[in-house]
């Protein structure tokens, strides 16, 4: 059976140019949007900073109330030795906490999926730690934990590890049910099932958790230091802000704040990038559609 239709190619129907024009318009709109995606936020940000500067200058606001952006930058430069030393301390706590959160979160998630009993026993603790605000636990931690660094780490870890645990647990459980049947049919061992099916299925969930945890680790590190409050050598950025506040050194507060914000942005960008490169070959979230 063969049915043939006489179809005329589109460009012979006299409507060709219109299509081209429409396509061109569409392509142009796409190009403009691609540029705007970068230009608009930068312009708005620049305008806001300029406005901040103008507000300070026009209203002659004294720098111990609100410093202008220029003063913040020059303070950042002048105090660079102290501030960057503190930045390193904060970074160290953040990344160590994040590393331990990853190991603990993933490890516990794997344990939960391997043993219902472990999940029933430990998940209440995980939830209690998660729902109790860290500022209210931190003072206790600093009473019981002698080492200040360990105390800070513990606080940052408590905040960071839950999203990794929760997301990874969800991911490990969300493997395709037909693939799970296939694993049964081929008599896969527990370890093979974990290695070949559950862990890869959990990867996008884990990376989502990591993006949240990265930011939370920083927040945990900063909050813990506020609570710890003791200063001296080896203090992080949070202590610099407290210290500057006592001395009414507002520009320095802003400079330290700027560093914390930048750190947060860098952490978010890095974890997003890791996520993108880990998933770009196969996961929907990382695939660009035409």
């Amino acid at each position: 059976m063969s049915v043939t239709h006489n179809t005329t190619p589109r460009d012979q129907q006299g409507s060709g140019p219109i299509f081209d024009e429409e396509e061109e318009r569409y392509a142009r709109a796409q190009r403009i949007e691609a540029i705007a995606r970068w230009v608009v936020p930068i312009v708005v940000l620049a305008l806001s900073i300029w406005l901040w500067d103008r507000v300070v200058v026009w209203n002659e606001i004294p720098h111990y109330v609100l410093p202008g952006p220029g003063l913040v930058l020059s303070t950042l430069y002048e105090d660079r030795v102290t501030l960057f030393a503190s930045l390193l301390v904060t970074l160290q706590i953040t990344f160590m906490a994040l590393a331990v959160a990853i190991i603990g979160g993933v490890g516990l998630a794997v344990l939960f999926t391997q043993s219902k009993f472990a999940e029933m026993s430990f998940s209440p603790f995980a939830v209690i730690l998660q729902v109790t605000p860290i500022v209210s636990i931190a003072p206790l931690i600093f009473i019981y934990v002698e080492n200040r660094l360990v105390g800070l780490l513990l606080c940052a870890w408590i905040v960071a590890f839950f999203p990794i645990l929760a997301n990874t647990t969800l991911g490990l459980k969300s493997a395709d049910h037909n693939l799970r049947d296939l694993m049964n049919i081929y008599k896969a061992s527990r370890w093979q099932r974990l290695r070949f099916l559950q862990l890869p299925s959990a990867l996008p969930y884990f990376l989502g958790g990591l993006r949240i945890a990265g930011g939370l680790a920083l927040i945990g590190a900063v909050v813990a230091e506020y609570v710890a409050g003791t200063g001296g050598i080896g203090s992080g950025l949070a202590f610099r802000i407290l210290e500057a506040g006592y001395r009414l050194n507002i520009p320095r507060m802003f400079a330290a704040l700027l560093l914390i914000a930048l750190t947060g942005i860098v952490i978010f960008a890095t974890t997003s990038l890791i996520s993108h490169f880990a998933l770009r070959k196969w996961h929907e979230s990382a695939i660009k559609r035409e």
Binding site: M1, D181, I185, Y186, P200, K281, W282
Partner: protein, 266 residues
């Protein structure tokens, strides 16, 4: 090589692969999914389970696959069941999106601890059988629905299993792709001599493909009639358009309609 070495034996000389003996399956809620299912699968058979949804076709396959146990009765593999006796194709392609096509087909070997390099030839051979050798390094998302299904079929037959179970594998595909895959499945069967149990709710698909059609009815799920299709293989467009095909399709269709309760006929 191994994929080809199972010759199609002449009818009557076929050895049994599997016997299902008076099997009942009742689910916890009391749903009788299958009642007194008996079936002997012989080497080289192409059996279709045909019936409305809910008549226990998938349940039958899951029992055979060992994914659940019969409530009553036994399923016996002739000569015992080995680790590579079974290949399964689901309604969805069921591929691992993070693995390439070749790595997906590798899975049954991988789970037996065989390295990719040691079975690469067999993987490529299976991919060639389904016409996808050029896509070995593609990821599933880069393939069309029909191509994904082919990968799934390649994975099911790569170990040269004694029995391949297919649960409505082409139901989600468009008609054109489905016909093409039906043709390809038959030529694949002719070349490998595979034994297949094929679940479908399409009369035409079952008549086109199989040499035995088991018509099933629901509540309780049971086989109500076995229809032999006396047409040899290979089959192609000639079979699809022959009067015999139409006659079998008509008879099958009538059997199927007769199984439905009056309130189910629309």
């Amino acid at each position: 090589m191994t994929v080809h070495d199972r010759a199609v034996l002449p009818l009557g000389a076929r050895r049994p692969v599997l016997r299902i003996n008076e099997v009942d399956k009742t689910f916890n809620g009391g749903v009788v999914a299958l009642r007194r299912l008996s079936l002997t699968v012989n080497e080289g058979d192409f059996i279709s389970l045909l019936g409305p949804s809910g008549c226990g076709k998938s349940t039958a396959l899951r029992l055979i696959a060992g994914l659940m146990r019969p409530t009553v009765g036994r399923i016996v593999w002739e000569g015992g069941q080995g680790s590579d006796d079974l290949g399964v194709v689901f309604q969805e392609p069921t591929l691992m999106p993070w693995n390439t096509v070749a790595k997906n087909v590798w899975l049954p070997f991988r789970l037996r601890g065989q390295s990719f390099a040691s079975v690469k030839d067999r993987i490529m051979e299976a991919l060639a059988l389904v016409g996808l050798e050029k896509f070995a390094d593609s990821y599933p998302r880069e393939l069309s629905g029909g191509m994904k299904m082919r990968v799934s079929i390649a994975r099911a037959l790569v170990t040269n299993p004694r029995l391949i179970l297919m649960d409505e594998p082409f139901a989600a595909l468009d008609e054109i792709t489905r016909q093409k895959l039906n043709d390809d499945l038959l030529s694949l069967k002719a070349r490998t001599g595979a034994t297949v149990i094929f679940v479908t709710h399409s009369v035409f698909e079952s008549v086109f493909l199989s040499d035995r059609i088991l018509v099933m009815a629901a509540r309780p799920g049971r086989i109500i009639k076995e229809i032999e299709v006396d047409a040899g293989y290979p089959r192609g467009i000639d079979w699809r358009t022959s009067p015999e095909y139409a006659a079998v399709a008509r008879a099958t269709s009538e059997t199927l309609t007769s199984t439905l309760a009056p309130d189910e006929v629309h």
